[in-house]
Subunit: 784 residues, 2 copies
C-alpha cells in the first residue's frame, strides 16, 4: 500500500479515536485549545471505550474498501455499545451533519457531538435508531450476524460487513448464525463479510473464542463454512497494512465467487466465504495503566478507563495526555474541520456507511403487490357449517405474493421448519426453500434461490427477517405459538427500535414485522403441555402501544383480511394468532372485512337480543377455539332458554379493549359500553391467559361484571375438546357461567345447569374409554 | 464383540422398537397373538416414530456400557419427542414397573403401556417428568447439551450421555452449548458424552449438520473442542458392532483423561473430549414406503408413518408386517415378559438408566448450609439515612454459602459475565470462575475448579443451572433484568416441569431455581432504553401459581431475608428483583424478617395515619426505586399536609396481591382490605409495568380506587431521577396524584400541587443544563 494512503488511514483512525474519547469525557474545550480543566469534563462519565478503537479501525478501512473496490457496503456493528465510535465516523464523513444539521462539522458541532453523548436529552450511548447508517441496536448482544444476512438476502450488489464482538460470539443466537451461509445464494443475494473482533475480553472476563488456540478457532470457522483471514497486532502501522490487505483479499474472493456463480448460473458446491479474524487490544491507544493496574488490553478498559477525572488531578492529566496522543492539531483545522488527509479515504454521497440507503430501508421499500382477497376467500353460505383450515387459505394468498414478487424478490416467509406443518404448503408452488447444501432425489421444494426460509432456530428466523425488513423489504414469520417466546427478547429490541425510529423524521417507515402464530395452545394433540403457551400476546402488549398490534381472527376470511392489513402496514409488530386445524367459516369475505375494520363487533345472527340496547348477557369471544365454544354455548342457550336475550360479541383486534388513551386502537368508553353494556354480565371466552382481558378492560364501567375464561396451564396430551374442558372454556361451562351470572336465572335454569354438568361428566367418561371426543361435540355445527 | 452379546443387543433393540411402535398404534392385542384388526388400533394416532429407533439403539448400547465399564451413567434425550423409545426401555429394564406398579412387566402391563401413551389421562407423548430416568422434557428443543453439562458439574463419577438430534443442533442454545467443555473440570466434574444423532431430517426438511461434508462437520466439532468418532450405516449388525466399539473407545478415553487429570492434579491443556457422530436412517426399521412414497430414511417418518391404519386395510396389513418384522415371539415369552436374551445387557438396580438417582435429583439433595443472617445484615439506626448496595450485602452471604460448600461442591452461581458488575464480587473470596482455557497473569479470579460460572450466554447459564438443580444441587442465576427475557421460553419449560413433577409422589422435590434480577430498569445509566424491561415478572406470573414466586425487596436486609427463603425452598421458581446501586436501608434485620414473612405490610413509622382503621390515602410501593420515591412523597406530604392521614404500605411478595384462590401466597380479602382499605384512594408505585398490579388486584373491593404508577417504556439514556420523572413515578408526581385523588384535597392543596409541578419543571431545566439530578433529590434522605 502506498505510504500516503497508510498515513491517511491512520489519520482517520486517530481522528475517530479522538472523537470517541471526547464524547465520553468532554463537555467543553473539544479541540484542547487550552489545558484540560475539571470543568471541561462531564459530571457523569458514561459509555464504552473498550470496543471503540476496534470499531474505528474497521470503519476507517471499510471506507477505503468502498472507494478502492467501488462497492456498495453497509456495516452491522455487533459491539454497538461502542456507540461513540460509530458516531465519530459518521461525523467525520459528514453523514451526521446531513442528518442532524445542528451538529456541524466544525468546532461548534464537535462540542455538540461531545456534549450530547449519553447526556440527558442527548443521544443514546449505543448504536441506536438515532445513529445514521445503522440497522442494529447495540444493546442486547447476539443478533448482528443474523441481521447482516437478513440485509444481504436479495440485495445482490450489496456487501454487508458485520463486526462481531468476541463477547457476543458466546451467545447462542450468534453461535448458530454462522450457519446462515447455508441459506445465502451467491446468485441472488449479496455477500456478508464477518469480521470477528477478538479484543480478548468482555465486561470482566476473557472471552472463550479469544483464548482458543488458533488452530482450534480456525477449525471452528472452517466447520461453520468460512475461510479465515487473520490480522493481529498492536502496532498500528502493521495492523493498517495487514488489515487493508486482508480486506482486499476478502473482497476479491467475494467478487470472484459471485462472478463465477452468476456467469455460470452455476450451482456448484457452496463456496467457503471469507471471514476476517481481527485481534487488537481492548481499549487500544487508551491509558495503558490506571492507578497501577493494567487497563489497555484488559477488561478494565470496557467502559470508562479513567473514572475520576473531575476529582483526581492525576486522572485529568492522564486524560489530557491520552487525548493529545492522537495529535488533534494534525487532524482538525483551526475551525475544527477534519483535514483533507483525514478525509482522503472517505467515500462520497450514499456510498458513505452512514448514508447507505439500505440502512434507512424504508426509503427503498416498494408497496407489496396484493391481489384482491376475493381470489382467495372461502364462500360462506351459512355460518358455522363448512370447515376450512384458515392458515391453508392464507397460504393461497401468500403464495401469490411470493409469485408476484418473483422478479422483485422483496418478500420472504421464514419459519422454523413448519411451513408445511402450518398448512402453508401452497407457498412452494411459488418458490422453494432456500438451501445451498446438497439436494437429494427424495427432497422436496429445496432450491438455492428459494424465498421460503426454514431452519430450526427461531432466533435465526427472527434475526434474518429483522435484517430483511430493516433494509426495506417485506416478510412474514410463521411460528408455533408456544415457541415464539424463544424470541421474546429479540422482539423487545425490535419494538424499541421501531418506537425510537418513529420519532425520527429522517427514518422512513419500514414494513412491519408480522407473526403468524399457529399450532396454538388448544391444538397440541401430538405434543401436549410443553407446547402450550399463549403468553406472547401478553408479552407484546407490555410494549409501546404505537407499535404493537394483536389480532385473533376467528376464521379463514377474517384471517385473510387481517393478514392483508398487516402486510401493508409500516413500523408495526403485528401478532396474528390463527389455527391451522379445520375451523368453521363464520363470515363471508365482506362481513369479515367489515368486522376486522371495526376490530370488535356484535354477531347479530348468533345472538337472541334482537337489537335490544341491553341484552341479558353478553357472550364475548376472541380466538378461533373460544369463538367456536361461545357459538356452541349460544346455540345451547337459544335451544334451552329461547327467551334469554343473549348478545354475541367477537373481538379480532384485542387492543380495542384498551382505553383510547392507552392504545391508538382502544375504544372510547361509549363504544365499549355499547358493545358490552355497563352493567350486564359478560362471559368472555379468550384464547390465552384470562387475566389479560382484565388487564386491558379494568377501567371500563362494566368491568365488575366481566367474567373471563381462558387457558390456565391446565394442559396435557389429550383431545381438543378435553383441553377446553380442563380449562373451563367449554360450551357447557360457558352456559353454566351464564346461568350463574344472569340475575334470577339460577333458579329458573337449574335444569339446564344440571344438563350441562351432566354433559361434562359424560365427556370425562367418554374420553377415558374411547380416547376421542363426544360425538355430539365432534359432529357439532351451527344450527340452521 | 462376542456373537451372543451382539445378538443380545439386537434382541433388546428389536424389543424396544416393537414397544415404541406398539405405543403409537395399539389399543389391544399387544403381543400380536391374533391377526391385527382395526379395533386393535387407537382411534387417534399420535407420537413421533422417526427418532425412536435411534434412541432405542443408543439406550440399548448405553446399557452395555454401564455393565462393561462398571460406570454410573445417565442420559439426556435431546430428541425427547421420541417418548415411546425411552418409555419402552424403561419398561424393559423394569424401572417403569417399579415407578408405576400397575404397568407390570407382562402382557397386561404391555397393554397398559401401549394404551396410556398419548391417550387422554395417560402419559405425554414426549419424555417428561412422568418418564423415569429423565431430567429433560422432550418438547422445546435446544437445551439437552446444557442440561447434560449441568448434571455433570460436581458429579465426578457420573458419565452423562447426551443424545442430540440434528434438528435440535440448529438452535442457537445448542450451537453454543458445545463450548461448555471450556467450563468443565476433569478433576471435580463428571464427563459428558455427546452423541450427535444425524438421522438427516427434521419435520419436513433435511438438517444442516447432516448435509455437511464430513470433513466440514469434523472441523466444526474439533473447533468446538471435541474429537469425533463416527458410526454410520443401515445394517443393524454392522452398526451394533461399530457403535459398541465407538462407545468403548469414548468411555476409555474419558476414563483416561479423568485419571490423568486426577492423579497429576494436572492442569494441562484442556482435553479434547470424545463425541460420537451416529448416522442412521430416520424411522429406521419402519415402513420403507407408504402409498408409493419413500418413508424410512426420510422426513416422512417423523411422526406416524402409517396414518390410516384403522380405515385402510393395506395400511393395517403393512403395520402388522412391520410389527412382526421384530419377531416379538422371540423377544417376549407367552406371558409377555422380555426373554433373558433381551435382558442380557440390562444393568441392575440404580445403575439402570431409568433408575439413576441423579435423574430424580431431589433424592440426593442435602440441605444448604446457611449462616445466620446476622452475620451479613447491615445495622440500621434510623430508616432512610444510610445507604448500601443491596446486592453487595447479599454477595457477602452468598460467598459464605460458596465457602461452606467447598468440600460438598453442591452450590453454584451462574451469570452472563456480570458477577462483579452486579456487586457480587465477594464470591471470589470463596471460589473462582470456572475456566479451562489459558490463564494470563492479568486475569483475575479464573480457576479450573471454580464454582462461579460466567459466560455471555443467558441460555447456557439457565441450561447449566437447570441441569444442576434437576440433579439435586443448589444454585442462583444473577442476571440483568432486561435480558433475562432471553430465557423466557426456557423458564416456561422448567416451570411446566416442576408443575408436573409436584404431582408425582415418586419425584423428590428439588432445590428451586432462583433468579437475582439486578441492573434493573431504573438504573441503566450506561445503557439506556435497550436495557430497560421489567416484564419478566409479568411473564412468570402467567405460569403455574404453585411454582412461581416473585419478590421485590426494598433494601439490603429485606434482600437477605428473601434470598434465604428462596435458597431453602424446593420446586419453585423464585424471581428476586433488587438493585445494585446504593439504596437506603429502611429496615433492621428483625423488621426485615417480619416484613418479608408477611410479604406486605404497613410501615407505620413512615405514615401519618397513627393506627387509624382507614387513612385518607394509602401510598403503596413495591421495588427499591418506587419505595424511595414513595417515602420521599410521604415526607413531602408530612411536611406540607401534616393533618393528612397517609398510610405507607410496602409489598415484597407481589403474589400477596392476588386472590387467595389464585395463588398460595394470595391474601384473603379481609387482609387486603385491612392493608389497602375498601374505599380509600391507593397510589401504588410499582417497579414494573403498572397494569400488572391491576391484573393481580382487579377482584379486590377497593380496586376502583387503585391508581398505579410504573414503567411505561418512557426510557432513554439519562439520570436516575429523570427516569422516574419520565415515567411519572417520581415523588412530586406521586404527591400530585394524592392531591388529585383524596376527596376535597384538590382545592385545599392547590399550592402544594403547584409546588410539585414547579419542582418537576425545575428538574427538567436542571438536567438539561447540568446533566445531573437536582441536588435536593441527589442529597435527599428520610427526615429524622
Amino acid at each position: 500500500m502506498a505510504k500516503d494512503q497508510l498515513s491517511a488511514l491512520d489519520a482517520h483512525w486517530r481522528a475517530a479515536n479522538y472523537l470517541a474519547a471526547g464524547q465520553i469525557y468532554l463537555l467543553a474545550n473539544p479541540l484542547l485549545t487550552e489545558p484540560l480543566r475539571p470543568e471541561h469534563i462531564k459530571p457523569r462519565l458514561l459509555g464504552h471505550w473498550g470496543t471503540s478503537p476496534g470499531l474505528n479501525l474497521v470503519h476507517t478501512h471499510l471506507n477505503r474498501i468502498v472507494r478502492e473496490h467501488d462497492r456498495d457496503v453497509m456495516c452491522v456493528w455487533g459491539p454497538g455499545h461502542g456507540g461513540p465510535a460509530v458516531l465519530a465516523n459518521s461525523w467525520l464523513e459528514g453523514s451526521y451533519t446531513e442528518t442532524y444539521p445542528d451538529v456541524t462539522r466544525d468546532a461548534a458541532g464537535m462540542a455538540r457531538l461531545f456534549r450530547q453523548f449519553s447526556f440527558p436529552g442527548g443521544v443514546p450511548s449505543h448504536v441506536a435508531p438515532e445513529t445514521p447508517g445503522s440497522i442494529h441496536e447495540g444493546g442486547e448482544l447476539g443478533y448482528s450476524l443474523a441481521h447482516a444476512y437478513g440485509a444481504a438476502f436479495d440485495n445482490p450488489d450489496l456487501l454487508v460487513a458485520c463486526v462481531i464482538g468476541d463477547g457476543e460470539a458466546e451467545t447462542g443466537p450468534l453461535a448458530t448464525s454462522w450457519h446462515s451461509g447455508k441459506f445465502l445464494d451467491p446468485v441472488h443475494d449479496g455477500a456478508v463479510l464477518p469480521i470477528l473482533h477478538l479484543n480478548g475480553y468482555k465486561i470482566a472476563n476473557p472471552t472463550v473464542l479469544a483464548r482458543l488456540p488458533q488452530e482450534e478457532l480456525d477449525s471452528l470457522l472452517r466447520g461453520y463454512g468460512y475461510d479465515p483471514l487473520h490480522v493481529s497486532g498492536d502496532d498500528p502501522r502493521a495492523v493498517h497494512h495487514d488489515l487493508a490487505k486482508a480486506l482486499d483479499r476478502a473482497v476479491d474472493r467475494i467478487t470472484r465467487v459471485q462472478r463465477e456463480a452468476r456467469t455460470t448460473g452455476g450451482r456448484g458446491r457452496r463456496p467457503a466465504w471469507p471471514v476476517i479474524v481481527l485481534r487488537t487490544p481492548k481499549g487500544w491507544t487508551g491509558p495503558a495503566e490506571v492507578d497501577g493496574l493494567p487497563v489497555e488490553g484488559t477488561w478494565r478498559s470496557h467502559q470508562v478507563p479513567l473514572p475520576e477525572v473531575r476529582e483526581n488531578p492525576a486522572h485529568l492529566r492522564q486524560l489530557e495526555a491520552w487525548l493529545r496522543s492522537y495529535r488533534p492539531e494534525e487532524l482538525f483545522d483551526a475551525d475544527g474541520r477534519p483535514t483533507p488527509e483525514v478525509l482522503a479515504c472517505v467515500p462520497e454521497g450514499e456510498r458513505r456507511l452512514g448514508a447507505s440507503p439500505h440502512t434507512n430501508g424504508g426509503r427503498l421499500t416498494r408497496g407489496l403487490p396484493l391481489r384482491p382477497l376475493e381470489d382467495f376467500a372461502v364462500a360462506v353460505d351459512k355460518p358455522g357449517t363448512a370447515l376450512h383450515e384458515p392458515t391453508r387459505v392464507l397460504g393461497g394468498m401468500l403464495a401469490k405474493v411470493l409469485a408476484d414478487t418473483a422478479d422483485r424478490r422483496d418478500f420472504r416467509v421464514v419459519g422454523p421448519d413448519e411451513t408445511e406443518s402450518n398448512r402453508l404448503g401452497a407457498l412452494f408452488t411459488a418458490s422453494g426453500k432456500a438451501w445451498q447444501e446438497a439436494i437429494l432425489p427424495t427432497d422436496e421444494h429445496l432450491a438455492p434461490d428459494g424465498r421460503v426460509m426454514e431452519v430450526l432456530s427461531e432466533h435465526l428466523c427472527q434475526g434474518w427477517l429483522e435484517g430483511y425488513l430493516l433494509t426495506g423489504r417485506h416478510g412474514l414469520f410463521s411460528c408455533y405459538e408456544a415457541f415464539v417466546h424463544i424470541v421474546d427478547s429479540m422482539v423487545n429490541q425490535h419494538i424499541k427500535w421501531l418506537k425510537a425510529s418513529r420519532e425520527l423524521a429522517w427514518r422512513a417507515p419500514i414494513p412491519s414485522l408480522t407473526y403468524l402464530l399457529t399450532s396454538h395452545v388448544w391444538r397440541q394433540d401430538h405434543n401436549g403441555f410443553s407446547h402450550q403457551d399463549p403468553g406472547f400476546v401478553d408479552h407484546v402488549l407490555n410494549k409501546s402501544p404505537e407499535v404493537v398490534r394483536v389480532y385473533l381472527p376467528p376464521d379463514a376470511n377474517t384471517l385473510l383480511s387481517v393478514a392483508e392489513h398487516a402486510l401493508l402496514s409500516r413500523d408495526h409488530v403485528n401478532v396474528i394468532v390463527a389455527g391451522k386445524q379445520p375451523c368453521f367459516d363464520w363470515l363471508t369475505l365482506d362481513a369479515a372485512r367489515a368486522h376486522c375494520a371495526r376490530g370488535a363487533g356484535v354477531w347479530e345472527w348468533a345472538g337472541t337480543d334482537d337489537g335490544l340496547r341491553d341484552p341479558d348477557v353478553v357472550l364475548a369471544c376472541a380466538g378461533d377455539v373460544p369463538t367456536q365454544e361461545v357459538l356452541a354455548a349460544a346455540a345451547l342457550l337459544r335451544e334451552h332458554l329461547p327467551e334469554l336475550a343473549v348478545r354475541v360479541v367477537n373481538v379480532v383486534d384485542i387492543a380495542r379493549l384498551m382505553p383510547r388513551e392507552e392504545h391508538p386502537h382502544g375504544m372510547a368508553d361509549f363504544e365499549y359500553d355499547a358493545l358490552f353494556t355497563r352493567d350486564k354480565p359478560v362471559v368472555f371466552a379468550y384464547h390465552g391467559y384470562p387475566w389479560l382481558i382484565h388487564r386491558l378492560a379494568y377501567r371500563r364501567a362494566g368491568h365488575a361484571h366481566l367474567h373471563v375464561r381462558g387457558y390456565k396451564e391446565a394442559g396435557t396430551t389429550t383431545t381438543p375438546f378435553d383441553m377446553v374442558v380442563r380449562n373451563d372454556l367449554d360450551r357447557y361451562r360457558l352456559v353454566m357461567d351464564v346461568v350463574d351470572r344472569v340475575p334470577g336465572l339460577a333458579v329458573r335454569a337449574t335444569g339446564l345447569r344440571q344438563l350441562m354438568a351432566d354433559a361434562r361428566t359424560r365427556h370425562h367418561a367418554w374420553i377415558r374409554e374411547h380416547g376421542t371426543d363426544l360425538p355430539e361435540v365432534a359432529d357439532w355445527s351451527w344450527p340452521s
